[in-house]
């Protein structure tokens, strides 16, 4: 092996070398995450200012054909970009309004998961021993339960309980947020714990300890800032999954009551798929693009922060 390697260098040094132009292999620029960011920013902007933007119909405005509301009256076209649905509402407008609930539930659930999972992961990973065992068992239990079943049970239970704290009533959107947040705890807690375990053995943590830093200080100043990139990366990847999960719950009839969501639209339109494909396809497309966008951004962050895929 070493002889093979030596030969070309020996000849190269003897003969006058000709200039060799090495061609760089063409590398596709990674456009995925840029697309994802543009999509999500545009969608959030439209959803937020849906009432003010002129090209989005009002939520409850029916698109009439010759003055009469007609079920699936318009296909995709100039009158209604994405066509109209069974009750002659504009599918495009409903897709945009649906993003409000979907994004809010997704972000809320992820924030809840990050908070609770982060606490469990850091405590378990930093203190190890008994605390680690207790938190790990809790996380393992969460992982062991089938997520859809757990979600159904939790939402029904929360429906029955009708919790009211001060003047904050736990309504359906909140129930879904809490449920999905609990489902998000386990993966986040695991990765945070793994990261914390590797960080606590690092020399700068020992150095901080040798200067008399207390545990709380080490956790907040030394460990936590180093875990944040990982947490955010996993959160972004998880957000896509949570949005899809919200769609699945809505599809099963456990959606939000009042405003429309993508999952509910898909559920409502699927019976008439042959007659009016647009009422189902466009919400599906919105859901797909959003999930893919979150994933692409998550992947880019993982590359940027050099986080192993296997760990996620």
């Amino acid at each position: 092996m070493s002889i093979d390697l030596e030969e070309p260098t020996a000849t190269a040094s003897e003969a006058p070398t000709t200039l060799v132009v090495t061609k760089k292999p063409f590398k596709m620029p990674r456009l995925g995450w840029i697309f994802g960011t543009i999509w999500l920013v545009t969608l959030s902007f439209c959803a937020l200012f849906a009432g003010q933007l002129p090209f989005i119909r009002e939520y409850s405005a029916k698109v009439k054909v010759n003055g009469r509301a007609k079920s699936y009256g318009w296909g995709p076209g100039w009158n209604a970009w994405f066509g109209t649905d069974k009750s002659s509402f504009d599918v495009f407008a409903r897709c945009i309004y649906g993003a409000r609930v979907t994004l809010l539930v997704g972000v809320g659930a992820t924030a809840l998961g990050l908070f609770l999972g982060g606490i469990l992961g850091i405590l378990g990973g930093y203190y190890r021993g008994r605390i680690d065992r207790v938190t790990s068992i809790f996380v393992d239990c969460l992982l062991a339960l089938p997520p859809l079943l757990l979600a159904l049970l939790l939402i029904y239970r929360l429906d029955d309980l009708e919790i009211q704290i001060w003047f904050w009533k736990v309504t359906r959107p909140w129930e879904i947020t809490i449920t999905l947040g609990i489902l998000a705890i386990a993966p986040l807690a695991r990765i945070v714990r793994a990261q914390t375990i590797s960080l606590r053995e690092r020399e700068f943590v020992l150095a901080a300890r040798s200067l008399g830093a207390k545990n709380g200080r080490i956790i907040f100043r030394e460990v936590l800032p180093n875990v944040v990139p990982t947490m955010l990366t996993v959160a972004f990847t998880g957000l896509g999954i949570l949005i899809a999960a919200e769609g699945a719950l809505a599809f099963l009839g456990l959606g939000v009551e009042s405003p429309q969501t993508w999952g509910k639209m898909i559920n409502a339109g699927r019976d008439d798929l042959a007659k009016a494909w647009w009422a189902t396809l466009f919400p599906c497309l919105f859901l797909l693009l959003s999930v893919v966008s979150f994933n692409l951004i998550g992947d880019q962050m993982a590359r940027r922060f050099d986080i192993r895929e296997a760990a996620i």
Binding site: R202, E203, F204, L206, A208, S210, L211, G212, R217
Partner: protein, 356 residues
């Protein structure tokens, strides 16, 4: 509060650190690893001590034992460690916290990993000041800037706002020293502070440590595997082998009159500038002893060139040389004794090469 207790218990006349038969063993799957196995020495206030030994001789574990920075569950510790006359071996972590930083500080081998990558330099220096000395933010930053100037970092004010990755290795080690010096410790542990740095920077860092030690009247424990590093920078040298102290002497006395064949071998393994080129480097054959089942007798016997029957059967005690009461060694047939010359005459001069 803890400062008051410390001040009252302080014994300023006696030695700063006094170790008596310190043992640190680790429980592992293979058995009990005797990383430090009965070490005793004293360190006077303001003096510097070099602990020398090869990898696995227990020098790092010894320094961390004194600091109390070992994992509490795995380590089994015996003996007595007195700091300013106060026993600190059995103290809990929260009790040690009053000593860490303000009384004892440590700098580590690799400056690349011992600074927090996501915290600005200034904050890392200011933090111990604010915790231990209750300084206000602005005071702490001013002190941090002065400390950086003390450790010869140019443009100190600008560095405070930089992150560790923006500095070079030598610069980072200077920052580590500044952090360790921040609260004015009485003793500084430097655990191979120059191993990760190149030779010119090494010399600068060692000079800086010596200079700061004199300026602050601080004690220094310099842990290294390189006799050359400690030669010019410490008052005393302790040579460790297999978890035991095998020779301890004032630096001058050690180099002039070394007794332990291991010390001699260590010194000979340093390449000399005066040697002609392509001279075989003399090495110490074999490997360090297994610390789970240490050999009977002298632990160096298996690798020593002058081994005799007695070395393999009886463990030599630490004895004092007749010339210098501060020079002690653990060897049956020390360098310079008649038995040593006898053994030396029997071995061919190039034996170290042949055993390879």
């Amino acid at each position: 509060m803890s400062d008051l207790i410390q001040a009252s218990a302080r014994d300023l006349s006696g030695p700063l650190i006094e170790l008596t038969d310190v043992k640190t063993h680790f429980k592992t799957a293979r058995g009990l690893v005797r990383a430090v196995d009965g070490v005793s020495f004293t360190l006077e206030r303001g003096k510097s001590l070099g602990i020398v030994g090869e990898s696995g001789s227990g020098k790092t574990v010894l320094s961390r034992s004194i600091m109390g920075l070992l994992p509490p569950k795995a380590a089994v510790r015996h003996g007595s460690i007195k700091f300013e006359g106060r026993e600190i071996l059995g103290l809990s972590r929260s009790q040690m916290r009053g000593i860490w930083g303000s009384e004892m500080a440590m700098i580590f081998q690799d400056p690349m990993t011992s600074l927090n990558p996501v915290m600005k330099i200034g904050r890392q220096i200011a933090e111990p000041l604010r915790i231990h000395l209750n300084m206000a933010r602005s005071d702490a930053w001013a002190t941090a800037e002065r400390l950086l100037t003390d450790v010869r970092i140019p443009e100190a004010a600008r560095r405070l706002n930089q992150y560790p990755h923006e500095l070079s290795g030598g610069m980072r080690q200077r920052v580590m020293i500044a952090i360790a010096l921040a609260c004015g410790p009485t003793v500084l542990f430097a655990d191979e502070p120059t191993t990760a740095l190149d030779v010119t920077v090494q010399a600068q860092i060692l000079d800086l440590l010596g200079e700061q030690r004199r300026d602050r009247n601080m004690s220094l424990i310099l842990v290294t595997h390189d006799l050359g590093v400690v030669a010019g920078h410490t008052d005393e040298i302790a040579v460790m082998y297999g978890g035991k102290l095998v020779e301890k002497a004032p630096t001058r006395s050690l180099f002039a009159n070394m007794k332990m064949p291991y010390t001699e071998a260590l010194l000979q393994s340093i390449p000399k500038l005066t040697d002609p080129s392509h001279t075989r480097l003399s090495v110490i054959n074999g490997r360090p002893p297994d610390l789970v089942n240490p050999p009977v007798g002298c632990r160096f016997a298996a690798r020593c060139l002058y081994t005799q029957q007695r070395c393999r059967e009886e463990e030599p005690p630490l004895v004092v040389t007749p010339e210098d009461p501060e020079h002690s060694y653990a060897c049956w047939y020390p360098v310079g004794s008649p038995a040593y010359f006898e053994a030396k005459a029997r071995i061919p001069s190039n034996s170290t090469v042949e055993v390879l």
